[in-house]
Symmetry: C3
Amino acid sequence: MKDQQSTLRETMKRQGLTRDAFAEHLGVSRRALDSWLLPATSGEFRRMPGVVAKLVGGMPAGTEPRAAGELRLRFTRKGKPHLLSVDQFDRDTVEELLQVAEAMEPIARRRKVTRVLEGAVLANLFFEPSTRTRVSFGAAFCRLGGSVCDTTGFTFSSMVKGESIADTSRVVSGYVDAIVVRHPDKGSVAEFARHTHLPVINGGDGTGEHPTQALLDLYTIRREFERLGKTIDGATVAMVGDLRHGRTVHSLIRLLSLFKRINFRLVAPRSLEMPPELVEAAKAAGHKVVQVATLAEGLRDVDVLYATRIQKERMSGEALEAYPADFRIDRRVLGSLCRPDTVVMHPLPRDGTPGANDLSTDLDADPRLAIFRQTDNGIPVRMAIFAVLLGVEHLVARDLRDAPWIAPARLGPGDAPFHRLA
Amino acid sequence: MKDQQSTLRETMKRQGLTRDAFAEHLGVSRRALDSWLLPATSGEFRRMPGVVAKLVGGMPAGTEPRAAGELRLRFTRKGKPHLLSVDQFDRDTVEELLQVAEAMEPIARRRKVTRVLEGAVLANLFFEPSTRTRVSFGAAFCRLGGSVCDTTGFTFSSMVKGESIADTSRVVSGYVDAIVVRHPDKGSVAEFARHTHLPVINGGDGTGEHPTQALLDLYTIRREFERLGKTIDGATVAMVGDLRHGRTVHSLIRLLSLFKRINFRLVAPRSLEMPPELVEAAKAAGHKVVQVATLAEGLRDVDVLYATRIQKERMSGEALEAYPADFRIDRRVLGSLCRPDTVVMHPLPRDGTPGANDLSTDLDADPRLAIFRQTDNGIPVRMAIFAVLLGVEHLVARDLRDAPWIAPARLGPGDAPFHRLA
Amino acid sequence: MKDQQSTLRETMKRQGLTRDAFAEHLGVSRRALDSWLLPATSGEFRRMPGVVAKLVGGMPAGTEPRAAGELRLRFTRKGKPHLLSVDQFDRDTVEELLQVAEAMEPIARRRKVTRVLEGAVLANLFFEPSTRTRVSFGAAFCRLGGSVCDTTGFTFSSMVKGESIADTSRVVSGYVDAIVVRHPDKGSVAEFARHTHLPVINGGDGTGEHPTQALLDLYTIRREFERLGKTIDGATVAMVGDLRHGRTVHSLIRLLSLFKRINFRLVAPRSLEMPPELVEAAKAAGHKVVQVATLAEGLRDVDVLYATRIQKERMSGEALEAYPADFRIDRRVLGSLCRPDTVVMHPLPRDGTPGANDLSTDLDADPRLAIFRQTDNGIPVRMAIFAVLLGVEHLVARDLRDAPWIAPARLGPGDAPFHRLA
């Protein structure tokens, strides 16, 4: 029979876990684990309790050896598999995550099916309505084989009765395997995450963060550039519109700052400029930042034009009036200022009402308009996040089969065929 | 190695696709496809791009040869798998669709399980509440093995922010594999469908259409008649109640008109008559149409009595008052006017409050009352629609296994045993 | 070829069904079944109809022989698989049900996956909001492999149009395989169940019952006592707070009364006492019941302290004011009155606002606080209820495989490791 020390060592190796991560995983202190690994002759040596032995014995033997620096452990904190902020990433980890997303493409495009998360349940907790984000997360989890429990109301009924975020978090953790939280208040998703060891993903917390949006934006730039033969290092990226309230651009400027020599063009009407601390951080990271107030000054020869909707629900009437009409981006603007290979992006929704001061629909047939490729990219990126946080990204490739149903080559009538195929 | 022309021809044959449908499926023009199929010696011959070759190579080889006139291609338009209106059907296609529904019965009755759509996701978009229709579509998709993302609110949050139906349609298409849309405005489901190549099913658009309800009504008549040894050709069908606003009866009269020599009895109070263009269309198709204003005139010796609820939410107070009390269909009416084999139907919900001017609950034990068999039939019919639009109807029979759980022989206490068994 | 009588007898034996249950299952009268089982020479002998023969022939042959007194048949009534009230149980059946829940633990703790209910659909009908209860039922059904259709609104849209509970029940029964109903009105879940043969589970009906909560409470006491080396027989159980309106404690006192020699301490402010008929019933069953009005009198040396939230939404302003501040249970109370092994429970949610007259958060790190173990236990208990009502509890053990994803050893930061492991 194998001795305790060998059993523990082999299990750690098989799971690719450090001693800290293994102790965390077992729910014991690092010190206790160390004592079980000492030679039996040592005075400090301890036998592991029966209950721990049972847990170790029950760990799946068939799983692959994981790399010691498993992605999940490298961008999360204190062994807790949370995605709360883009600040968790460095360039290596963000690029590895996007590679996992690439591997999800055949599933996201309905050519392949995986069931790797069969039996797992996601709680999709939306304390603020956002139908498309909710459906994107839900569909991504389903495409990995899991099931989804939604809460779609404005309120979580037990919180109405005075329940704390802490209690809600701990209770829901007993029901499911991963939790997406969207909340109107900045910081409340982090508060939710503090009270659980389950994977928690920030689905947007008020004026705070929306990290999965920034990751799918970066993924989109990467894929568009790949097609165009460009690299992110050295690119010129214009961000346009309400840069003050738009958490999307706040997260994106920080993610792009992980790359090299970006030329940022920040185009915003007075009073809606990018917060100074974000501008300073980008400069400090070695990037060039130009702040201007008109499209004419900002859009010439950019590689990426990232337009944002005016966040009407976050502005006062006065600020709304100050938003000048010439921030509308249409065919004329693109024709006179941009290049044939400029990538036009937008976090959506855009205001489609006639004359709206937003990205115009007269661009819908223009192949530079990447907004729907961008929103499509939410599926593989969110699949990758779930797979990595739940530690199954290495199992997906072995679990693929052909999708038996007929999927269209193009989704929208205006889509170029390369969209689904490239 | 096989040449390009053979590869393309064999794939088309295997998939049962015409050149037009195959080009659509690949996302290329018909002209491009033609040029790839020419002899290599022709001056017009072109090599297909690598990306297309990859797509063709990736088409599931294991699927069955399909009939050249595949059902999906025969009742949909321009290669787009949409079910928007009963006008899409002719007698052949509607009968074939109902045969597919018959094949779904062992699953709908919980004797068998299929997982053919495992990995597929349905967006169940209800811009207007209709719990039962939503659950019926959702359950049908689940019974094929798929997963469902619901939106149940009155509003789609991004549309509140000014997003167009076009954008919503295209964005949701990036997330899922099929879309059911219910919307309060006539024509808006067609508008939604215009912007996607994914399967879209009209779940009711205001005063417009509700094609799946009409199909399940027709399926019910077919099954009841089969049991009674009758045929739809030559049948006498009474439609009763508010025939002006009831989209259900509008769709049903058009579907039944695909058959031969129907005797329609349209029984409606003044001002709530069937729209004249529908009456004229039925007559033009060779059917007999009698319009009367009382039950006594309309119900004698009918094969089908199709009662409808007064659509209170679509009527003004004055019209409501004009609705005469003697449109209540109860045991007395049935006993004095109808035959022992008259099939009594209703689209439900019926008004169950005492004295309501609707189909009475005193009929609940009467075997002629087919209303619950009718609503049960929503599952196999909606399963058939999903299976056909996603091109998997031929795979279901090969994917069946026994349901391991215990299903009751009868669902309701008043159900005759033949209900679940016939 | 086998004769009709042998076929029927063998099928009954294989399914472990009595004649009554088998007749119910076939949807025929007991008398008809008897006539088919008579010797062919008897004058009363009848051939079974072809349609019945088909059904019998189609019964899964591979299923295990069931015990004649199958659990499902022993605590349900008239062959209808409903869980409406704790009164359905005796000590044997409740203990067997909790043993099934024990067998679900590896799945509830995400070590194992089962797909035994794959293809089955649950309708989770919440006519009153209760997010956590809804998610708990939904997640439990998903963990058995099934799919869930939720209705989360305050209203069921067709009921708004005047539909009766009877019609809603019968219609939904045509769509799904099991139904959970939560309703604000006492008795309405029983009314719903009257109109269907499908499994119906009472998810709480106003001031009526909430049997699954009581079952998970009992399961929690059993598991905590097992760890502590105690038995339920002879235990001292304090119930504290609003005992008049709390349906949870009403159900729990009845369930505990199935055991022996319980010492009940009912601690409630005047006007919020336990209803006298429940007190009398417990005494009549041989238990000791002490009713007091202060914590000091009630909590000394109890084995279980079951605290309840003040049901503000069910009280008038006057009664609210009369609720004395010294019903707050905190570290000081526990330290001065309780034992080191007292199990502290609460049905949750608790009021977490500062100074709330409820279970205090200053106890969160105290291992005696079992409230999150208690809510976690909702999953295995509800899984057991579904499995038993659908007759698949014996199939789960044969359908287990390892969960491939990483589940944390502890859910909350304050959880002791034994929580997930014991």
